[in-house]
Amino acid sequence: MSTLEEIRESFSFFDDWEDKYRFIIDLGRELPQMPEDQKRDENLVRGCQSQVWLTATFDPDDRLHLTMDSDAHIVRGLIAIVLAAYDGQPRTSVSGIDIEGLFDELDLMKHLSPTRGNGLKAMIGRIRSLSAS
């Protein structure tokens, strides 16, 4: 799994969309698959185009641990970026993480727009509300 710094650095070298999307798809390939028995309805956000599953737990130190998966390669790659930003963060820091700013910086904002229907935006909403509760 790549760290946020590694992802940022790789993105800084891309000068065309092809390298960028090949990298995103590779990130998706490296993402561990969620066990099938966790791909239950209560862990699912159904987008119009693709689906995302999420489970979130907090360890004894109140740090967030996420398992996420999707049925689409590119969405799995985007999930790897989301995980790099959120996974292992203290609960109290979650609301301060500017995921929109990160996606904007990586020129991936269109994948977070509500119209793409890939379930990712709703999933980020779920991470935030789980951490607030």
Binding site: W17, E18, Y21, R22, I25, C48, Q49, S50, D71, A72, H73, I74, V75, G117, N118
Partner: protein
């Protein structure tokens, strides 16, 4: 054909002309439509039907002129059989709301597994409200309606039989003339969702013999927010009004109201005047073309596209219907439709991916969704070739 009439197609996206293959979602608009709507707001904006001044006369003439064009376009017998709505969805909801008084527990509504959600959910709501049951004729592996199953489900006779003319997800053209005849012989009211047909095929409602036919302007080169409901006059007259408000009344007292004549009984409130005028202009545009030319052009593009897709071992066509209009749906082995859609988008090719508002159909076919390329009359051989090149490149990513 007629590409030069569409201003948006002259624009470039990322340095190359946009390849727009999402016409089943909405079509682009010719300058004729844009000018008609602009001219209405610039020179004749007034509310229709009610005022005594000249501007209102002009607006009313343009609005009612669109109704006359629509009547001619689908060969309705009477102009008052053309109701303007906000689109196909509203047209079907109008029917589901007003036909309800004829339904009761034990009645059946027959649709098919190929329907768009707009031709499923309004009937589901009606069934819940009345205690009627909703049943669906099966889809075959090729993506056609299983006609044996359809005929079987006409006994005992359903109260309402509603189905699409052309499948938005697969492009299948259904043999609706025979289906309508069989449904009417069984004593059912027939409702046709023509949203995906009107831009691709000539439609003659009298020859078809249907009771109702619905469509959307924006899928036939007109503006969004405007649509059509055709209904046979005697049926429309017998139905109660849908929405209440201005325009649809004859007389209102605090104890009751009487209804305006057709078509106004079903057009409550200030209508989408600019939209209807734009709709009329879209019909003028279509009537300036020959259906033979449109059909043969689009069929050639679709055949070319299908032949190219068959060459790619990773690609599986979803639906190979007996007759096709507008749409080619497919899947790429080892990838999700969303991946292919995203990679095509990066290359300036606009397609649609997902369930296409036909989740029951996707479930019946056992697919998560499809990639859908859908064609309009302005698409060219070059569009097909650029789509194919972009798809081949996308396959190298997966």
């Amino acid at each position: 054909m007629r590409r030069q009439d569409f201003p948006i197609l002259q624009e470039e996206m990322n340095g190359s002309p946009l390849v727009y293959l999402d016409n089943a979602a909405t079509t682009q608009k010719p300058a004729l439509v844009l000018h008609a709507m602009d001219a209405y707001y610039r020179t004749s904006n007034a509310n229709v039907h009610r005022a005594a001044h000249g501007l209102a006369d002009e607006a009313t003439r343009a609005y009612e002129g669109a109704r006359d064009r629509l009547r001619h376009f689908i060969n309705a017998a009477h102009r008052e059989e053309i109701i303007f709505t906000s689109g196909t969805t509203a047209s079907i909801n109008l029917l589901a709301a007003t036909l309800g008084s004829r339904l009761g527990r034990g009645d059946r509504i027959l649709i098919t597994e190929l329907e768009h959600h707009s031709n499923i959910v309004p009937w589901q709501l009606l069934a819940e409200r009345t205690g009627a049951s909703l049943i669906a004729a099966r889809v075959t592996e090729s993506g056609d309606v299983d006609l044996d199953d359809f005929h079987k489900k006409l006994q005992p006779a359903p109260a309402i039989v509603a189905f699409g003319h052309v499948s938005n997800a697969l492009g299948s053209v259904h043999p609706i003339a025979g289906m309508i005849r069989a449904a009417r012989d069984a004593g059912a009211i027939t409702v046709i969702d023509g949203a995906q047909a009107l831009a691709h095929l000539p439609v003659d409602v009298q020859a078809l013999g249907c009771d109702f036919y619905a469509g959307s302007a924006h899928k036939m080169y007109g503006p969004t927010g405007t649509g059509l409901l055709y209904g046979r006059r005697e049926l429309l007259e017998a139905l109660p009004p849908w929405q209440g408000g201005g325009e649809m009344i004859e007389e209102v007292t605090l104890t009751g109201s009487t209804w305006n004549a057709l078509p106004y009984k079903f057009e409550a409130g200030t209508p989408n005047i600019a939209g209807v005028i734009g709709f009329g202009a879209a019909i003028e545009f279509l009537e300036g073309l020959s259906w033979d030319d449109v059909r043969s052009h689009e069929q050639r593009l679709i055949s070319r596209c299908v032949a190219e897709l068959r060459q790619m071992p990773e690609v599986r066509l979803v639906g190979e219907p007996a007759e096709r209009a507008g749409v080619v749906s497919f899947l790429v082995e080892g990838s999700h439709p969303h991946d292919i859609g995203t990679l095509l988008d990066q290359q300036g090719v606009a397609v649609r991916t997902g369930h296409h508002c036909a989740m029951p159909l996707m479930t019946c076919l056992g697919v998560p969704g499809t990639v859908r390329a859908s064609f309009g009359l302005y698409n060219s051989d070059d569009d097909v070739d650029r789509f194919v090149t972009a798809l081949r490149k996308s396959l190298t990513f997966i």
